[in-house]
């Protein structure tokens, strides 16, 4: 048996949902070497596994930098990540080597926007506190002011970064009676009209918002954006929500702000590092809700992401147009 061309080799860094793996196997375009585990591939295994690979399917927990790319060698023509974020990819190095990149925008927008709203509501209406009280015997009877929270009705919401996810969050918050929807970013967005969004300077957004939702990409400009100065400008009754990337927030400054009563509460789905060590001070605060990065965690969305990731990879291997290619 011989092949008309060398068999294309692919390294998959995690056991991804069946829908994706099956697509790769059925396509019969490549041989798949799979790190068949729910846990991340150790660095040494990654460097070994990519050797000679034509395609690499990875997750956001895999740092794909010059070392990995060098270990892979000149065959590597496509990297397909099962995420919309790409801060784990050394874009310059990848571009230099003319490697194409696939990612998963849009398909996870609904699940992530939904989780962002879930987190906002859980934080504002003090759900984890309530549940703690119930389990520990702190619930005695209905009381007029016990566990009162901040409602969305009549409020001002500020979205930092009105991209796909930010806009989807704004759409979902509107019918809760939000009075004003503010947003900030590098420039105004025409699609903001749909949610009556007002483009304002960041400082205004911080001073006027009852709910601040961070929805921007992590970049050198947004790294550490949410720091002491940021929190000082916010209302003392405001709720801060971050479901973008952990590094956008200065966690020490956030802890200060929460304990000093500079802001009322915070909800985070992303942290630095991930996982956050169990003895981290933020985890001990009643007014801080921390989720373990589950923004896109629904069965249907993860299945769709897996399929898209596989399809991006296959297109990259065969030199075709990708369903979702990242412009480098």
């Amino acid at each position: 048996m011989h092949f008309a061309q060398p068999v294309l080799r692919v390294f998959v860094t995690r056991r991804i949902p069946q829908e994706g793996l099956e697509l790769l196997q059925r396509a019969a375009v490549c041989t798949v070497s799979l790190w068949d585990s729910d846990e991340p591939v150790p660095r040494a295994e990654l460097l070994k596994g990519v050797e000679g690979a034509h395609g690499l399917l990875c997750l956001l927990s895999d740092r794909i930098d010059a070392e990995v790319l060098d270990a892979a060698g000149p065959n590597l023509k496509v990297i397909s990540t099962m995420s919309v974020g790409f801060d784990h990819l050394a874009i310059d190095e990848i571009k230099k080597r003319s490697i194409r990149v696939g990612y998963t925008p849009d398909v996870l927008t609904d699940a992530t926007a939904e989780l962002t709203v879930a987190l906002l509501l859980a934080t504002a209406r003090r759900l984890p506190e309530g549940i703690q009280e119930v389990k520990s015997g702190g619930w005695s009877s209905w009381k007029p002011l016990w566990l009162c929270g901040y409602g969305l009705s009549g409020s001002t919401v500020g979205v930092i970064g009105l991209g796909r996810i930010g806009l989807a969050v704004a759409r979902r918050l509107k019918p809760f009676g939000v009075k004003r929807l503010l947003y900030s970013g590098r420039q105004p967005k025409p699609q903001a009209q749909e949610v009556d969004g007002e483009y304002v300077p960041l400082d205004s957004l911080l001073c006027e918002s009852d709910f601040v939702v961070v929805s921007c990409a992590l970049s050198p400009e947004t790294q550490g954006l949410c720091d002491k100065a940021f929190f000082t400008k916010m209302k003392t009754t405001a709720v801060f929500i971050n479901t973008s990337r952990g590094a956008v927030v200065n966690q020490e400054d956030l802890y200060e702000a929460l304990t000093a009563g500079q802001i009322a509460a915070a909800g985070l789905d992303v942290t630095t590092p991930e996982p956050l060590p169990t003895d981290h001070p933020l985890l001990a605060l009643k007014n801080c809700v921390v989720l373990p990065h589950i923004g896109s965690a629904t069965y249907s969305t993860r299945g769709i992401m897996a399929k898209l990731t596989a399809n991006n990879l296959l297109a990259g291997l065969t030199g075709e147009a990708m369903p979702s290619e990242l412009k480098l």
Binding site: L121, V134, P275, T278, I294
Partner: protein
């Protein structure tokens, strides 16, 4: 709870009110405003009032003692206002104002018999309750409580593809059991989550309310069969008592989420436990239980897929203030013999 009668001196009571109010933060300014309005209105009317000056419910014996000779009674949902209380109050009692929209704690027959008018607080709490219902629905469907627990106890490793996955609202069917103001408000808020279809059941179709949310009227059985998310929003009545039982749960999808923010008595809790522990339904979120509080050793607490909140649906600062103002105004109107802002038709 506030009792009004025309005999005692008000000064001491005013001071008691101030002490109740000033211990809270600046967010509670409206409370001060409400109570001061109430005080000044009452001074003007030359009535004075007594306050059970506590965050905790009034013990039954105290209640029976203090209502004697009252003209008006302002209560919350923890007080059972039945024949015993009304008899203890005597013939002066002409108005009962409850700071709630539910009135299952009031013996309506007994009140009607005695010609006592009743005020309650619909509408002002609709937004807060709808909002909390959705908070609870999402916390249940997206497994937030399991997730926060993992984050705190070391179960959080690195990002994994199928860990803590939940069920999405996008493309789902949402069923509402009891389509009233709150049911409609819930549907309005769920719409942008890309819900595919809203269905509802009730004692009879509610065309006007249903039209606002494009919801289809179905039987209870169909509601169970078709719903991915089922929210219970009905009042507690003899007909709805225990209506969410194994008959309902056995017909539901095993990927469905059941939410109750109405009254605990609508749900058969043993049947719910069965349904959750055997995987008949995927998860449940409750803001109301029987009893309240639910004892900490109740079996429902052992289930990861059951989220229980301590009846906080209307617990937002602005809403509780609005409820208290409305309850006060209902009471005053009743004392003056005027139309109430929100009178319960008996």
């Amino acid at each position: 709870i506030i009792f009004l009668n025309k005999t005692k001196k008000p000064q001491k009571l005013l001071m008691k009110l101030f002490s109740l109010i000033v211990i809270h933060s600046q967010r509670q300014l409206l409370w001060i405003h409400t109570f001061l309005s109430l005080c000044s209105s009452l001074f003007f009317l030359r009535v004075q009032f007594e306050l059970w000056d506590s965050d905790d419910p009034i013990p039954r014996q105290e209640l029976l003692k203090k209502v004697k000779g009252c003209d008006g009674l302002l209560c919350v949902l923890t007080e059972k206002i039945d024949a015993e209380v009304l008899n203890a109050a005597g013939p002066n009692l002409k108005v009962l104002s409850t700071m709630s929209v539910g009135f299952d704690h009031l013996s309506l027959g007994e009140l009607k018999k005695r010609g006592i008018r009743v005020g309650y607080t619909p509408e002002v709490l609709t937004d807060a309750v709808a909002e909390l219902t959705i908070a609870l629905l999402l916390a249940t469907s997206r497994r937030l409580i399991e997730a926060t627990h993992e984050a705190k106890t070391g179960g959080w490793g690195t990002w994994r593809t199928l860990w803590l996955c939940g069920y999405e609202l996008a493309d789902s069917t949402v069923g509402i059991f009891g389509l009233g103001r709150i049911g409609v408000a819930i549907a309005e808020r769920l719409k942008p989550f890309k819900v595919k279809k809203f269905i509802y059941t009730d004692v009879a179709p509610r065309p006007e309310l249903a039209a606002a949310i494009q919801a289809e009227y179905v039987s209870m059985d169909e509601l169970a069969r078709q719903s991915d998310f089922l929210a219970v929003c009905c009042a507690l009545t003899p007909e709805t008592q225990g209506i969410c039982n194994k008959n309902l749960f056995s017909k539901m999808k095993n990927t469905s989420i059941f939410i109750n923010t109405s009254r605990g008595g609508v749900v058969n809790q043993e049947d719910l436990y069965e349904a959750l522990s055997t995987g008949q339904i995927a998860g449940a979120g409750l803001d109301v239980t029987v009893p309240e509080p639910l004892p900490t050793n109740h079996p429902l607490f052992t289930l990861k897929n059951c989220v229980i909140l301590p009846h906080i649906a209307s617990a937002s600062y602005t809403t509780r203030n609005a409820m208290s103002a409305l309850a006060a105004n209902n009471l005053l109107a009743g004392l003056r013999g005027e139309p109430m802002p929100k009178e319960l038709q008996l």
